[in-house]
Amino acid sequence: MLMLFKYELYKIFSRKFIWLMFIVLAAVNSYNILNYFTGISEEVDIAYWKLYDKIEGEMTTDKINYIMDNYKKHKQVVDTGNFETETPSSEYLTGFVMGDMNLFDRFRTQMERLYLYNNTIEDLKKAAKNNIDFFAARGNRFEERKNRLILNSYGERKINDFYDLSDTQKYIDYDFSSFLILLSLLPGLIPVFAYEKESEMYKLISTSKNGHKKTLIAKIAASATYIILTCLFFFLNDFILFLSACHLKGFNAPVYAMESFKFSVLTMSVWKFILFGLLIKLMGFIIVGFLLLLLSKLLPDSLISFVAGAGAVIIMLVSPISIYNPLILFKNRGLFKEFSIIRIFDIPLYSFSAVIITYLLLLALLCLGIIMADKQKAQINIPSLVAKLKNKRTAYNANY
């Protein structure tokens, strides 16, 4: 069994074309990331990140006072309108008083947001408590449960630490590599069944001792391994490039400390969230990959299988994101940005868990489909269909 798996994996990776493709696509990905971050590092940014290293971490009164005092001091100078704009002086971190004011303002606005966040959550909790009492008195059990869920999700959170998560957020928002992974699944997975059909090798294989079941399982396992390795390759490529190109900070901060995830129901830390997101992405790629496998199993040759697979990928890319589109798993951050639930028998369920459960079921269905297709030897054979129709027609004509 293990030998079969090894041979199937070797079959996929033995083609030089696959290796060439990985190199080219990784180069495209690297170009895209590095291109995105060029021209950002200016004087102000260098000073910002230098100062940031001191401020990062727990927000103590000392730090807050340091930022506020400096901001006020520089703002007073700027407000007088009489300050140096030509020659930089070593007195200021950025060289100019105006630059320093903007620098401290950047810290100030972020800290203010974090400070206000705790108040917002307190208000939210109060409203949820009121709602629970209100709906419990009127016997609306769904709304009561929903508000209890809100209270549970947002109850125990507070931001005490200061981190600049803007670049981390850019890393989470980046999905050009998902497009490249989708592309690279095509040449890897379409040949798994199609090549054997073209060379008519499958007839020979099915007569051998390990013919039917074992070969099939080995093929599915090898394909899954190919998908996982491809994903790992591109995920690592992304991570290393982002790490070198920008400032990924605050992996220990909670998810809701990020500006656009402030109302996320998740309370895990950022690095756990990133891993979780990648895991969902991986599930999405396995689903798309198995869809391609099924196509390659059902359709007669590699040309048609490839065109059908590529067509499916294009349809996914151009149609809007909804639950029916597996792209929702690749852009999964949208699922976690706000409190969103669906109602199943009066029980509120987070919509992201509903999406994940749906797609897990779909994955099981796809696996079953591939196995069934092998058992039935089902294959959409257009010429034979046409021949059948013709026979019926001639039989019909002969009768009348």
Binding site: F17, L183, L186, A194, D301, F306, A310, V318
Partner: protein, 383 residues
């Protein structure tokens, strides 16, 4: 001639490409006839909209401006009268009968108002630059040319047809036989390239016509002789052409782009001799630039086929703004001379690729090392 006839028969009939072409053309017709939602006008306002457009079509004149202002006043007056009547009625100053009578009179004004607000927006748009922005119903042309999307149906048919030309014979082992035949060595390769180019041109024309007819069946495609700047999408363009000219030029650029794409696929197919690498390389090389630079003008400035396959970008004026995902973008207009340079450069590369393709096809035992070097030399500039 005989060879071309036989080859056409082989690709279209024997390998059933004609079915795929017809199916995709039908899908293209149905989708483009039913998918445009931009500028939708409800059927009950359609009549008023058409009436206004008939009065106003063409260049903005002082009389038309007066007409619009008069109409605005009239509609506002009617609505004010209606609101006043409602107030009077609810406070008991007029009877139910009187109130219904007034609302019957003003109901028309409400219907007109919906259509008029669209006309008024257009008036503001035309007034910004009255010398090259004309009044017209732009919905049809907007659906036809005001976008930067690739026609994926056309893309797939060209991909299939050009992949079939060489690869099918390599996969079935027929190419070894062909090389021993009388014309098999030199002429067949040249004829296959010519045939692919003819087919590609025919396909581009077919799909452009399909799109044109699909939109014509749902929306008006009139006043093609008005300046291009009348369309919102091209409002800042500096090119002095009419709308119909623009459509024809885009089609011409598409012919060039898709021909280059076809030659690229032929070249890859002669190197790889298999379907999957051929199809994948073509697929990825066309799509990656489109997804890499979704809003920017870079894809139109590179001498690659992706920009030409879209075509409309060469006529868009400079603009800047924010995309859906909140990333700012900047589009610099591509001047006519730059367009020529890019086009000629791309076509020159195509000619070189075509010559190499014929050369490899003739000298079948091409040294494997040189082949690898060729492939690398090709893939690097593309990326």
């Amino acid at each position: 001639m005989q060879i071309i006839k036989k080859e056409t028969y082989k690709i279209l009939i024997k390998q059933k490409a004609v079915f795929i072409i017809l199916i995709l053309a039908a899908v293209c017709f149905l989708v483009s006839a039913n998918s445009h939602t931009k500028g939708y006008i409800a059927p009950e306002h359609q009549k008023w909209y058409n009436d206004y457009m008939n009065n106003l079509k063409g260049r903005l004149t002082p009389e038309k401006e007066k007409f619009i202002q008069r109409e605005e006043k009239r509609i506002n007056k009617a609505i004010q009268r209606d609101e006043k009547a409602y107030k009077d009625f609810s406070e008991g100053r007029i009877s139910q009968y009187e109130y219904t009578k007034i609302t019957e009179q003003t109901a028309k004004a409400y219907d007109k108002q919906k259509a008029f607000s669209l006309i008024y927006d257009k008036y503001m748009f035309v007034k910004e630059s009255p010398e090259n922005r004309y009044f017209m119903d732009t919905r049809g042309w907007d659906a036809l040319i005001s976008h930067q999307n690739l026609n994926f149906y056309l893309f797939f048919t060209v991909l299939i047809v050009s992949a079939l030309a060489f690869t099918h014979e390599y996969e079935s082992g027929m190419s070894t036989f062909l090389i021993t035949s009388r014309y098999g060595k030199r002429r067949l390769g040249i004829y296959k390239i010519i045939l692919t180019l003819i087919l590609t041109t025919a396909l581009v024309l077919l799909f452009s016509l399909t799109e044109y007819l699909a939109i014509l069946s749902k929306l008006p495609l009139v006043f093609g002789d008005y300046p291009l700047q009348s369309l919102d999408f091209f409002k800042t363009s500096s090119k002095n052409i009419s709308i119909l000219d623009c459509f024809l030029l885009i089609t011409a650029l598409k012919v060039a782009g898709f021909s280059a794409f076809a030659i690229f696929i032929l070249f890859i197919s002669i190197l790889s001799k298999k379907y999957i690498p051929t199809l994948f390389t073509g697929f990825a090389a066309a799509l990656i630039p489109l997804f890499l630079f979704p809003e920017s003008d870079i894809k139109y400035r590179l001498p690659i086929f992706s920009g030409f396959m879209v075509g409309s970008g060469y006529f868009i004026g400079s603009s800047s703004g924010k995309s859906e995902e909140e990333y700012s973008f900047l589009f610099n207009e591509i001047s006519l001379s730059e367009l020529w340079q890019t086009l000629i450069f791309m076509l020159a590369i195509c000619v070189i690729l075509a010559v190499i393709t014929v050369f490899i096809y003739q000298v079948k035992r091409f040294a494997p090392k040189a082949k690898k070097a060729l492939l690398l030399a090709l893939v690097l500039p593309v990326t």
